[in-house]
Amino acid sequence: MDKIDEGILNELMDNPKKPFLTIAKKMQIAPVTVQARFEKMKKEGTIWGTTTIVDLSKIGFQGKAFLFITASQHYDQESTIKSLSEIPNIYLISEVIGKFDLLIIAVFHDITEIREIIKKIRNKKGIQKVEVSLNNNALFPLKKEYTEIKLFNT
């Protein structure tokens, strides 16, 4: 990564929707360079892309559930995760190392819905135990803190 990449990233962190033309003018480089560097950084895996944070509480979601899963002896990485990902409103499944085996994050409308989600998880093959933490924030798919991470010390 060079100064140009760094400059483009700074502009995009400031506003991920900033037109490449605006960035190009500001950095005094060609717009195609901005486009090419953006694609290059995506391809190399420096960045994954962009997303929009939406506040689902505005359309009836009450919050998020963090579900800490202990796997059973029937756990099969591929099939268990696939069947878990079919449950509506589960949007993140992470295989973890530590006290638990999986971390699942889901959004929910109300307590009845989250109980349903937990019940469905418990019934899947390979799941032994589900521990739950609930949060009343329905920002999706990320929280604002994430956008405030500083990448460069300058």
Partner: protein, 149 residues
């Protein structure tokens, strides 16, 4: 609570997938004009349904290859101290005050396991900390398309 229609849903899903989605693409999908899409996005912003856009960064490329979830149980007055310690030692992707098995669920990016362990020890040594669990991510699966909006 606000109601949104199918077009709004299509817009939201497209922008969640990619904040830079061309309005023209969404307009064609919904069979309405680009102006209509633009107006609807402005409206979704005004309603604060759309909060902001984010660049998805691979923190590994920036010296923070360890992603972890930290769950803490503590006396309530210690919450801010714990958040402060974590902010000083790692990049924080999410701070969640919760009820249930933890009082606080934090998502952090750390430089190394060693660094993460230091943070853990430091929190553990605070007065009023009852329990701290650290789980390190090793494989992530995300999907945004089975959301029931």
């Amino acid at each position: 609570m606000q109601q949104i229609d199918e077009i709004d849903k299509t817009i939201l899903k497209a922008l969640i997938k990619n904040a830079r989605t061309k309005l023209k693409e969404i307009a064609e999908d919904c069979k309405v004009s680009i102006t209509a899409i633009k107006r609807r996005i402005e409206n979704l912003e005004k309603k604060q349904l759309i909060v902001k856009s984010a660049l998805l960064i691979n923190m590994e490329s920036f010296g923070h290859p360890i992603i972890a979830t930290i769950g803490v149980n503590m006396d309530q007055n210690q919450e801010e101290t714990v958040i402060q310690i974590i902010k000083e030692h790692a990049k924080v992707g999410g701070i969640n005050k919760t009820i249930g098995n933890y009082d606080l669920c934090l998502f952090v990016f750390a430089k190394s396991i060693n660094d993460l362990d230091k943070v853990k020890q430091k929190i553990r040594n605070q007065i009023g900390i009852k329990n701290i669990d650290v789980n390190i991510w090793h494989k992530l699966h995300t999907q945004y398309n089975n959301l029931t909006i």
